[in-house]
Each structure stands twice: as C-alpha cells, then as structure tokens.
Symmetry: C2
Amino acid sequence: MELTDIGKRARAAARYLNGLDQTGKNRGLGAGAAALEEGMEEILAANRQDVEQAKAGGMSPSLVDRLALDESRVLAMAGGIREIMALEDPVGEVLSMKPRPNGLIIGKKRVPLGVIGIIYEARPNVTADAFGLCFKTGNAVILKGGSDAIKSNQAIVKWLRKGLGDAGLLEDAVQLVTDTDRETTRALMRMHEYVDVLIPRGGAGLIRTVVENSTVPVIETGTGNCHIYVDQSADLDMALSVIVNAKTQRTGVCNACESLVVHRNTAQAFLPKLKKAMDAYGVEVRADEDSRKIVPDFAEAAEADWGTEYLDYIVSMKLVDSLEEAIAHINRYNTGHSEAIITRDYDSAQRFLNQVDAAAVYVNASTRFTDGNEFGFGAEIGISTQKLHARGPMGLEALTTTKYIVYGNGQVRK
Amino acid sequence: MELTDIGKRARAAARYLNGLDQTGKNRGLGAGAAALEEGMEEILAANRQDVEQAKAGGMSPSLVDRLALDESRVLAMAGGIREIMALEDPVGEVLSMKPRPNGLIIGKKRVPLGVIGIIYEARPNVTADAFGLCFKTGNAVILKGGSDAIKSNQAIVKWLRKGLGDAGLLEDAVQLVTDTDRETTRALMRMHEYVDVLIPRGGAGLIRTVVENSTVPVIETGTGNCHIYVDQSADLDMALSVIVNAKTQRTGVCNACESLVVHRNTAQAFLPKLKKAMDAYGVEVRADEDSRKIVPDFAEAAEADWGTEYLDYIVSMKLVDSLEEAIAHINRYNTGHSEAIITRDYDSAQRFLNQVDAAAVYVNASTRFTDGNEFGFGAEIGISTQKLHARGPMGLEALTTTKYIVYGNGQVRK
C-alpha cells in the first residue's frame, strides 16, 4: 500500500479510536492478545524464516536471540497486552476545570495524540507492545520495523488486525509499513500531515537518523551514558553494591552505569576495593592517571572514554577534587539519562539532585531503576532523554496530549 | 560572535540560571525592566533607523506599525516584564512524590528547559517579552529577530544585558543573533547540542521553514483557521453576537473566526440576519451554493476558501445537514487551533467537545478567548497548535520540563 494511503487510514482510525470508550478499547486489547495465541503457529513459522535469513546473512548470535521467537515469547507478548489492558486509562480525565471572571469554565482534558509512528529495529516483541500501548490510549499506530524481522512483524500484525476485525473493531488501528527500504522510512519521517509523533526505538544511529530527518515531532528515546559519583562522605560498601548492580546486573541496557566519578578523599580507601569487585565480575576499568597511581592495574582511559556508552563489561573512572567538579564532568559528558550520587551528606545530595541535568537523578540507589515498571507506570514505550513532552520512562500518559474544553453562555471578548 | 559561541554561552547561562532562586530571578526581571526605561532614548533612536529603512524599502503601513516603537510602547515592554515578575514561578515544584515498594521515593520536579531559541519576525516587543518569560522560568534565551528590526533588537538586548550586569547577574541569559542571513538561521535550527527547544513566532511561512528544517525540537505556534458551527438548536442572537465578535473584534489574529458552518435547518432564519450583520461590519461572506440560494448576495466560495486563514474582513460559509457533517468538515480543514459550537442541545455540545480535534474547543463562546491572559496564565509565549509538550496558549509552565528525583538508601535492582 502507498504510504499516504496508510497515513489516511491511520488518521481515520484515530478519529474512530477517539470515539471508542474504555470497554471497547479493552475488548480490542483482549482480542489482539487472543489472536496472537491463535496465530501462534503462523507467527513462529514466519519468524523461523526471518531467523534463517538472518543467520545466513551473518547476524551476530546476540541479535539473532533478540529476533527469535518461541512459544513462550509469543505467549509473553499476549500476556504483555493483557497487562496493559488492566492499567488505568488516562484518556478523558479533565486535569483541571476552573471558572474565569467572565463566567467561562475552562478545563484541560487528556486526549489521544492521534497517529503515532514507531520506527524500530529487529525485535518483533516491540510490534505487539506498541500496539497494546497505542490502542489502550486511543491512538492509531503505524509500525515500521526492521527488514530483518519483516516476516515476523507481518504475521504478528496480521493476527492483531484479525483479532480486531473479529471483535468488530477497526483493523486500521494498527498498520505495518512493509516496504523496508530507506526511502520509505524517510517519507514516513516527513509525513507530518498524517503522523502526530514519531518514536524511534533502537540504537543511537537509528535515533540520530530520525531526529535529523524528521519533520514529524519526535520523542527521542536515547542512549545512556550513566554516571555514579562516590562522594567523600559515601558509605563505601553501599557504593560498591550499587556500582556492581548498575554496571553488571545487565550490561546492554541504557540505564546501566558506564562511568564512575570518585572524590579524591575516598580514593585511597575505595579504589582497591573497587578493583577487586570489578575483577570478580570481569569488568575492565578504564581510569584516569590519578586513579592509576593508586591502582596501577586499571586500564588507561582516553578522552573518548568519558563520552562512551560501552553497553559492555567496561566502565570509565575519574577522580575529582569536589562535588562541583563531579557535577561539571557529568553535565559535560552525560546523555541526560540517569545519574546517581552515593553520599551521607545532606547538602551534597540536594546539590546533586538540583544541578545534574538528566531525566532521572538518584541519591544512594542504582541507575538501573529508570524503567516504567520500576517507576510504577505498569508499562513503558521507551525512556525519553529529551526535554519536550515527556522525560524519563514513558508510560501511557506520554502517549496522550490535552485539549482545552471551554463552556460558555454567549461570552464575547471585549 | 560565532553561533557556536553563542550556543556555548547560552548553555553555561542555563546552568547558572538553574541555580538562581526566585528572588534572584525577580531581581533580574526588575533590572531588565528598569534598563529598558533607562535606555529609552537609545532604543527609540535605533528603532527610528529601522523604521526609516523599512519605509524606504516599501514595507506596508500595517507592518511598519508593528515595527515602530514610541515611548508608551517601550514603557509597555517594561511593564510587561514587571507583570511576569509578579507571576508565580513554576520551577522547583515537585508534582508528585511517592514511595515504591522497595523504599525508593520517586518525585517529579519541574525544572527549566535549558536553552530556548526564539525565531521571530519584525515585532521588537517580542524581544522583551521572550526575555521576561524565559528568565522567569530559569531558561537562557537565544533571540533571532527579523532583519527589519535588527537595530531595535540590538538596542533592547543591549539594555536588558546591561540591566542584568549592573544587578550582578549573568548577561548571557539573553543573547541576540545579529547575523540575519538565512544561513545563520538554518544553523541555529540545527544546533541541537546547545538549544533544547525552538519556538518560531510569526507567519505561516516562517513556522513551516522552522518545522521542516529544524533538528532542534520545535514548539509550533500556528495559524488558526477557526470555525464557528451554528447548530440547529442554536440561540440565533447568541450565534450572531459570537460570530461578530470572533470575526471582527480583531481580524489579524490567529484566534479570529475564518469560517462558518451552519445547520441547514436554521439557514432560512439565520442567513439573512447574518448577511445584515456582516454587511454592517464590512465582512465579505464567501458561501457555498446552497447558502447562496437563500442569500444570493453572498460571494461564491471556492474549494480553496475552506482552508484559508484570511486574517481579514472575509469569512467562508458552508451549510451542513448534520452535526456529524459539521465535525467532519471542521476536522478536515481546521488547523488545530480554536473551534466553537453554538447550541442549546446537551448532546451536540458534548459531541462537539469530544470529537473536534483542536487545541481549544468552545461551546457558546467566541474563539477569540484562546489567549494566555484570557485563560488566566498571566502571560503567553504563543499558542501551540501541535500536540507534543504544550497545546493551546503557553504560559510559564510550557517553558519548563520535569526531571525525576529519586531518594534511596542503597537500593539495587533485582
């Protein structure tokens, strides 16, 4: 189908979804989840073709693992949609409603964004997830997945649409763009007449491409060069435990710790312990010169290390003379994701919270908590590292906007 | 100065402003307002040069009027800044703060956006206004005004900066880009490393250029093709009074009415009255064929009229058979600004409010109320017609974002 046709159908579906009540939306989610289970065999067969082709093309085993589905993964996709079904629907809430001196009553009502475009890479579970979150919030969604997962995505979307259709609901609430060439993706990024917002989900390259080429407003879900700062007053055991968790509990994720900043006054006591702990987990520490005077076995850090998101068993390490220097270093090199201080000092904690510029700033806790489920949102469409509209983990509310509703009785402006 | 230098200075100023408390910010606003009064002569002299050059270049009288300053207009600029000073500062408020089961306490705190770029045309009062709104919310601002007002803007910014400097505050909180060529503007639009958000203020062409070329997130302040729908149950006197107000109280503004949609069942009674009222105000009505059967003196509407924002004493006019047809017409041709229904019917009112897709939707009131002051925000940086971040009149809150602050005592993720 032509991309503009997809856009027009999505716009029509958005109007339709805006009129669907909570019962109708939950019915659609239930039908979509059931359809995935019903279509299990076909989805798995399509996925096997994608996986074979990916292997033949030399895809790395870890990426093949992200692409591959089995019965339990498809059941998990259906389960994820049912979890979204159980969440509270943010749409329709009137956030405030107040009379003005002239008698107008002005309220601010939460409404769907309209049409959401999601551009993502080879993980087919995003397909079901994005459908669930968008449908719950009354948004039509246009999905543009990676070419590696095209057959899987086609099968998943086919069954989701079948589920909607069988339930008497409009199938165009979810559409897949099947042309996976670059030109189609670019055209989608410039279709601001039909798409209200684009959310790219994937690596830094994909996100940069979308930000730089899109005329549709973008919610940037970003990379995380997350720091942990060990203050001079830190409980060193706590520091160690938090660092081990933030660095090693899962390394390939955006909220993992990538860089350590340590106050010089604690270095002598702390660095040897850190070295032992990092060795135990197989983490390479790339340290500045002063750190290496204390622990010569640390690897040498280059300037490029301060800005690197390793997503691996590597961490950079820098000594500082003061909290100010720590904050300046973090604000210079971070990506606005998650930053933590380990301290027992009241003033250091408050200043770190106030002055570090990031979506989430922590005192005495692991950066790994920056996540929709951990924050209590129940679901997440991504973690925004930009400042407009949504910042940090994005739950259902991030997929809504507001409109002013105004009740009058003939008022005119003087 | 090089644009990247301006960007770096703005970024540094944003860090500085983030640390400035409410007293400091209000002191800066007071100093800026006083400096404009102190610099009156120089500002007026600079403006005279701009005005002379504009006249020599053949600028239309209405645009020259927007450009020209006199003592009362400069005093009004200073007064506007003092009004902003008196508003409540939204920065620092923690919107919610709740414990999680693991003991983490997570709060959402309102913080400045950082660096705001404003690209605008020939109105020098925007310069003072934008400074006031941005400084109040702790944001550094980069101003890029039109070449026609360059001398006026230079003088205004010079005195604002002098005011800040004399008050012991950082002058770089407000900077003006003095290169007015197209290349510089384009470079500013792509400087996402230093600018957090761009707000274009001006005509449709300027806004389109910014949206299409910017990699910095944009808040689109848009055009208004605003409709008034006269339902079959409408109080026709009220309809007439609201239409006259929305069309004629000020024609050159985005919340003025540009198009009328009338239910066929009221046409016979309403259209002759409308014709009389519009004639009295010198408004040309461009009507569809069916309307012209009732009032043959109406001008003929072409397809292009439905999508036109006249900003003039012209209004388009269409008959419909039903509320549904009215809503479909409005949703097809509107620009997402302000739409009104005149009705006595409960169900029509609710359906119009729910189904019309716009920043502000009215029952029985003039669209002219879509305005920050009329909505009770005290000040306004523009009216957003997009859906991300802010929609409708943007007060001080629209110039803020949030960050999550997380208090822990050693929590790690399991």
